[in-house]
C-alpha cells in the first residue's frame, strides 16, 4: 500500500517535471535507466550549462526521481532512475513525444541499443538527424562480416514483438546490405518514417490478430478485424470519447446482424490497444480528462496505415505548409516548428543539420549534410524535390545547384 502511494506521489512529480528535468530523465532512460555520470555530462553539457545540470540534478534527487549511485568520484558515479519508475516514466514520455525535440542532436554513439519497438519509437523521435536507425554495439558483433540471421538474433533477443518486427524487415534491401558491410562503430537501417510506421502497424496488426488482446482467444482474429473496421470509419482528427466509440461499435454489431455479434468488445481492452499499441506509433492520439474520461482521435498517419488514404495523399498533407518553410540563399532552411508536421522536420533533418531548435527552427544544408542524406538513401533530386514541394516561391538556384553538385 505504502509503496503504491509512493509511486503515485512520484507520478505526480513526473507530471509536474520541467522540460529540463524531462531532458535529464530521458537521457538516463535512453541508457536503460542507468548512465555513468561522466558519459551523461558529455551528452548533456553539449546543449545545457553546468549550472543547469547541477540545479536539475539537485531537484530530481530531492524528488526521488533520480538516484546517484557508485563512487562519489566523477569516474565512478552513475545516475539511475529507480527501477519501479522506469515504466511510469516511459508512459509519461510517450504521451508527449514533442518533449524529445531536444535530442535531435544526439550522436548515434550516444544512444544505447534497445530492443523494444516502443523504444525504437523513441529512437525514431530522437535521432531524426540520422534518419531511423537500428542500433547495435560494436562489441557485440565486432568488425566481422555478419549474417542476416545474426542481426536478427542480436536485435530479436529482447522481446517477441521485436522478433516480429525483424521478420517484417528482414526482406528489406537496406537490412540485406547491412549484413554485407563491415562496420567499425554503429550500423543503421534507414526507413522513411511513414513507411516505418506502416510496417510496424502491419506486424502489430498481425500480432493482435494472433493474440487475445480483446479478451477472447477463440475469436481474437475477428475481434481485431472488426475493431479496425470501426476505427477506420472514424473522421480523421476528430476527438471521440471511448464510451461513444465502444457503444457505437456495439450498436453496429447489433444492427448489422453481424455473425460475430457475440464478440467481446469492452472499454478496458479497447483502450489498452489504443493507448498501448497504436498511440505509440502515432496511429491515434489519446487524451484523459481528469484521469477518468478517455478520448482518442485517428491521425492522418493512422488513416494511411489503415489503408484509408494513399501515400501520395499523406505526403500531400505533409506539403500543405506553405509559408512555414523557407529555403534561403545562404543554405539555411527556416521552419516554423510548431506549425509543421513533425514528419516534415524528420525528413528535412535527414540531409541538413539542425542549428537552432525553437519556435522557428533553423537547419543548414552543407556539403556534409548532403553526403549524409545520400548515405541515408536519398538521391539529390529527392532532396531538392522535397524542398521545392514545401518552399514558398521555390528554392534558390544556388542551393539546388549545390545539392546536385555536392552529390557528385
Amino acid at each position: 500500500m505504502k509503496q503504491n502511494r509512493e509511486i503515485r506521489e512520484r507520478k505526480k512529480e513526473i507530471s509536474k517535471a520541467s522540460n529540463l528535468e524531462k531532458v535529464f530523465l530521458s537521457f538516463i532512460l535512453m541508457n536503460k535507466g542507468k548512465i555513468p555520470a561522466i558519459k551523461f555530462k558529455r551528452i548533456y553539457l553539449d546543449r545545457y550549462s553546468l549550472w543547469e545540470l547541477q540545479e536539475t540534478e539537485k531537484k530530481l534527487v530531492e524528488k526521488g526521481l533520480v538516484v546517484k549511485s557508485g563512487e562519489k568520484t566523477s569516474k565512478g558515479l552513475s545516475y539511475e532512475v529507480p527501477r519501479e519508475l522506469i515504466e511510469v516514466l516511459s508512459e509519461s514520455f510517450l504521451s508527449s513525444p514533442s518533449d524529445f525535440d531536444h535530442i535531435m542532436q544526439l550522436e548515434p554513439s550516444q544512444v544505447a541499443p534497445c530492443g523494444e519497438y516502443s523504444i525504437l519509437w523513441y529512437l525514431w523521435q530522437m535521432d531524426s538527424e540520422y534518419g531511423f536507425h537500428l542500433f547495435r554495439k560494436k562489441g557485440e558483433v565486432g568488425t566481422q562480416r555478419i549474417s542476416q540471421k545474426k542481426i536478427e538474433e542480436l536485435l530479436a533477443t529482447k522481446s517477441e514483438e521485436t522478433r516480429f518486427f525483424i521478420s517484417v524487415y528482414k526482406a528489406l534491401p537496406a537490412l540485406k546490405s547491412l549484413s554485407k558491410r563491415k562496420y567499425k562503430k554503429w550500423s543503421n537501417v534507414l526507413i522513411s518514417p511513414h513507411r516505418f510506421v506502416k510496417d510496424i502497424f502491419k506486424f502489430t496488426y498481425d500480432f493482435l490478430r494472433e493474440g487475445n488482446e480483446l479478451g477472447r482467444e477463440d475469436v481474437g482474429k475477428d475481434n481485431i478485424e472488426f475493431f479496425f473496421d470501426e476505427l477506420s470509419a472514424l473522421d480523421t482528427g476528430r476527438w471521440y470519447s471511448l464510451d461513444f466509440f465502444v457503444s457505437n461499435a456495439r450498436a453496429t454489431l447489433f444492427l448489422s446482424n453481424q455473425p460475430f455479434r457475440w464478440i467481446h468488445f469492452d472499454e478496458k481492452n479497447v483502450w489498452k490497444i489504443l493507448n498501448q499499441k497504436l498511440k505509440v506509433v502515432g496511429i491515434v492520439e489519446t487524451f484523459m480528462e481528469n484521469g477518468d474520461k478517455k478520448f482518442f482521435r485517428l491521425t492522418k498517419l493512422g488513416m494511411y496505415c489503415l489503408g484509408e488514404i494513399s501515400e501520395s495523399d499523406l505526403l500531400e498533407d505533409m506539403t500543405s505548409h506553405m509559408g512555414k518553410f523557407m529555403v534561403h540563399p545562404n543554405f539555411e532552411v527556416t521552419v516554423v516548428s510548431n506549425e509543421l508536421d513533425p514528419r516534415v522536420l524528420l525528413e528535412l533533418a535527414m540531409f541538413s543539420r539542425p542549428e537552432k531548435l525553437d519556435t522557428m527552427s533553423v537547419f543548414r544544408i552543407t556539403k556534409d549534410t548532403v553526403g549524409k542524406g545520400k548515405r541515408l538513401g536519398l538521391t539529390p533530386s529527392e532532396m531538392t524535390a522535397f524542398l521545392k514541394e514545401r518552399c514558398k516561391g521555390g528554392i534558390p538556384q544556388n542551393v539546388e545547384y549545390s545539392i546536385l553538385d555536392w552529390s557528385h
Partner: protein, 567 residues
C-alpha cells in the same frame, strides 16, 4: 484569421527576433524593434534581429524601459513569447544606469547608489587598474586616460556604464551643407542619411556623439559624415583606408559644403597639412621607423582640438589605432562602414571603443528604394584542365588555393563575359598580380595595383569615369574607397580566401545607381570542387544574408550560351 496570426514577428528563446518582410506590419515593426535590437541578417523573406545586452543598454540609454520593450514584442509577436525573454530584458535593462561616469572639474568619476556594486568594482582587478582612488562609499575616481578602457571592461563584466561625462568640445569651425553642389547639382541628404545623422547626433546629448553607422556600399556614408560635421561645426579629423579615400573625402567636402578649400588638409605620405578639417590614412598613422618604436604620427590626434573623429571603413581599423582610440573617449567618434565584420572577430572592440552600432539599414531595402543599383550575382563554375588538376593534387593545402584561383580556363570565361558586355564598364578584380597581368595582356587593358603611382591611378580612374576606358583590371586596391559610379560589371577572378567583407566591398564597386536604371552584374569565376569553391561559398555568406541571390552557372554552359547568342 486573427490579428495574431497576421503578426510578423517570431520571438525566439535565444533572443533573436525574426521579422517577416512581406507582412503589412513589417515597416512599423522594424522601426520599433530597431530601437532595442540589432539587425543581423536581411534574408529575402525574413530579417533577423538580435536583442543583445549592448542593444538593450543602448535602448535604456535612450530612455526605454523593460516594459516598453516587452510591449513592442507583445504587439507584434505571432506566437507566445518564451518565458525567459521578459526576465532577461528586464534584468539587462535594470543594470543600465546603476553606474554613471560623471565629470567634475576635469576629473572623471564612476558613481553608483549601490554601495555593494561600487565595492565589487573596486575589488575587481581588471577594473581597478583604471581607477585612482575610492573617494566615498559610492564614488570612484577614474584615471583620465582610462575612460574608454573602463567602459569596455565594465561591459565585459556585465555592468554597463551610463557615460554622462560628456564630450570635450572641439574648436569651432562653421560647416554648412550646400543645397546645390559646386558642380551645379541639387543636393540634400536622403531620408535614411538624415535618420542616421539624427540618431548619431542625438540632439548633442550625452547618449549620442559616438557610434557606428552601417550603410551599404554606394549608399553615401560620406554624406552621413558631412551631415554630422555640419551639425557639430567643429574641427574634424577623418581617417581613411587609403589615399584615394582621402582624395574622395576632399572632393566631397569641397563640392557639397561651405568649407573653404584652404581649410581642408591632407595628411598623407605626400603632404602633412593640418587644417580645421584634416583627412589622413590608417597607413600613415600606423607608420613607424622601427618595429618597436613609437608611432610618430599619433601626435596628429593632439595637434588640434578636434571635436569629431571620423573613422571611415571602420572595420579596417588597425590594432594600434584601437589603442589610441581608447584614449580619445572625450572626443566624439563616428565609425562608418558597409560591412561591420572582421575576419579577426574584433567587431565588438569596434563597438566598445568607437561606439555601438547607431544605424543600420538593409542593402535590399535601399535597392528597392532605388538608392543603390539592383545587382545580379552570378557564379560561374569552371573545371580544371588535366594538367592543372594534377598540379593541384600534388601540392600542399596552402598552395592549392592559388592554383585553383589561377586556373587558366578562367581566361576563356573572362573573354566571354567581356564580349557579352562590350558596351558596359567593366572591372576585373583579383588577388594575384600574375593572373591580373595576364588578363591585362589578353585585353590590352590597363591594370592598377598597389604599385601603380597615385597620379597614374587617378588618371586611369578619370579616364574610366569619362568612358574613355571601358575595361580596368584591379588588384586589391579596388577593395575600398573606390568611387567609379559608371562601373556596372565586375568580374572577380580571385580573392583573399574566404573574406566576406572583401566580397561585399567588391560588389559595392558597382552599386552606384545607374543613370539608365540598368542593373549591375557581379560575376565570380570559381574552380569547381577546389579550395576556390570552398572559399567562394564562405565569401558569399555576408551578401546572401543581406538578401542577395547567387545564380550558379556551369562554365561550359555559359560559354555555349555565349556562343549561340553571338551567332
Amino acid at each position: 484569421m486573427s490579428l495574431k496570426s497576421q503578426n510578423p514577428l517570431i520571438v525566439q528563446s535565444d533572443k533573436t527576433l525574426l521579422l517577416e518582410v512581406e507582412s503589412p506590419f513589417y515597416e512599423s515593426a522594424r522601426d520599433e524593434i530597431s530601437k532595442f535590437a540589432e539587425l543581423e541578417k536581411s534574408l529575402e523573406y525574413i530579417h533577423t534581429f538580435r536583442i543583445s545586452p549592448i542593444s538593450l543598454w543602448n535602448a535604456a540609454a535612450s530612455g526605454m524601459k523593460g516594459e516598453d520593450v516587452m510591449d513592442v514584442l507583445r504587439r507584434y509577436t505571432r506566437y507566445p513569447i518564451p518565458g525567459n525573454i521578459e526576465f532577461e530584458v528586464n534584468d539587462y535593462i535594470s543594470r543600465f544606469g546603476k553606474l554613471k561616469l560623471k565629470r567634475k572639474e576635469e576629473k572623471i568619476f564612476l558613481e553608483s547608489q549601490d554601495i555593494a556594486l561600487i565595492s565589487e568594482i573596486w575589488r575587481n582587478k581588471k577594473v581597478k587598474k583604471h581607477l585612482t582612488k575610492r573617494m566615498e562609499k559610492t564614488v570612484l575616481e577614474v584615471k583620465p586616460e582610462s575612460r574608454g578602457e573602463i567602459k569596455h571592461v565594465l561591459i565585459q563584466i556585465g555592468h554597463p556604464v551610463e557615460d554622462l561625462a560628456g564630450y570635450a568640445e572641439g574648436e569651432h569651425y562653421p560647416i554648412t551643407l550646400l543645397e546645390k553642389t559646386k558642380g551645379g547639382m541639387p543636393f540634400s541628404l536622403r531620408k535614411y542619411q538624415r535618420e542616421a545623422v539624427s540618431v548619431f547626433y542625438s540632439n548633442a546629448g550625452p547618449t549620442g556623439g559616438s557610434g557606428t553607422v552601417v550603410l551599404p556600399c554606394g549608399a553615401g556614408k560620406t554624406m552621413v559624415g558631412l551631415g554630422i560635421m555640419s551639425l557639430l561645426s567643429q574641427n574634424t579629423l577623418i581617417l581613411c583606408p587609403n589615399v584615394i579615400g582621402v582624395k574622395q573625402w576632399i572632393e566631397e567636402i569641397r563640392d557639397k559644403t561651405t568649407v573653404k578649400t584652404e581649410d581642408v588638409g591632407e595628411y598623407t605620405g605626400e603632404k602633412k597639412e593640418i587644417k580645421p578639417i584634416t583627412i589622413t590614412t590608417y597607413q600613415v598613422l600606423t607608420w613607424r621607423p622601427k618595429k618597436d618604436s613609437e608611432f610618430p604620427h599619433f601626435t596628429l590626434f593632439q595637434k588640434r582640438n578636434w571635436g569629431l573623429i571620423v573613422y571611415d571603413e571602420v572595420h579596417l581599423l588597425p590594432a594600434p589605432v584601437f589603442k589610441v582610440t581608447a584614449n580619445l573617449q572625450a572626443k566624439r567618434r563616428l565609425g562608418l562602414t558597409a560591412t561591420l565584420i572582421r575576419e579577426d572577430g574584433k567587431e565588438k572592440d569596434v563597438f566598445s571603443l568607437i561606439g555601438p552600432k547607431k544605424y543600420d539599414i538593409s542593402w535590399k531595402v535601399l535597392e528597392s528604394q532605388g538608392w543603390i543599383a539592383t545587382a545580379e550575382c552570378l557564379e560561374i563554375r569552371v573545371d580544371m584542365t588535366p594538367d592543372v588538376k594534377m598540379n593541384y593534387s600534388l601540392v600542399n593545402e596552402r598552395k592549392r588555393y592559388r592554383i585553383a584561383a589561377e586556373n587558366p580556363i578562367k581566361y576563356d570565361i573572362i573573354k566571354d563575359i567581356v564580349n557579352r558586355h562590350a558596351d558596359d564598364n567593366i572591372l576585373v578584380i583579383g588577388m594575384y598580380l600574375d593572373q591580373l597581368r595576364k588578363v591585362a595582356d589578353i585585353f590590352k587593358a590597363h591594370i592598377i595595383t598597389g604599385k601603380t603611382p597615385r597620379r597614374e591611378r587617378e588618371r586611369l580612374y578619370d579616364s574610366f569615369k569619362r568612358g574613355e576606358i571601358k575595361l580596368l583590371i584591379l588588384s586589391k586596391v579596388a577593395n575600398f574607397a573606390l568611387d567609379l559610379p559608371d562601373a556596372n560589371v565586375a568580374i572577380q577572378i580571385s580573392g583573399t580566401f574566404g573574406s566576406r567583407q572583401e566580397e561585399a566591398q567588391r560588389l559595392g564597386r558597382i552599386l552606384r545607381p545607374k543613370k539608365d536604371g540598368s542593373i549591375a552584374r557581379f560575376y565570380s569565376i570559381v574552380t569547381r570542387g577546389t579550395k576556390d569553391q570552398d572559399y567562394a561559398e564562405k565569401r558569399q555568406l555576408f551578401l546572401t544574408e543581406q538578401g542577395y541571390k547567387y545564380t550558379i552557372i556551369d562554365g561550359t554552359e555559359f560559354a555555349r550560351r555565349e556562343n549561340s547568342e553571338t551567332k
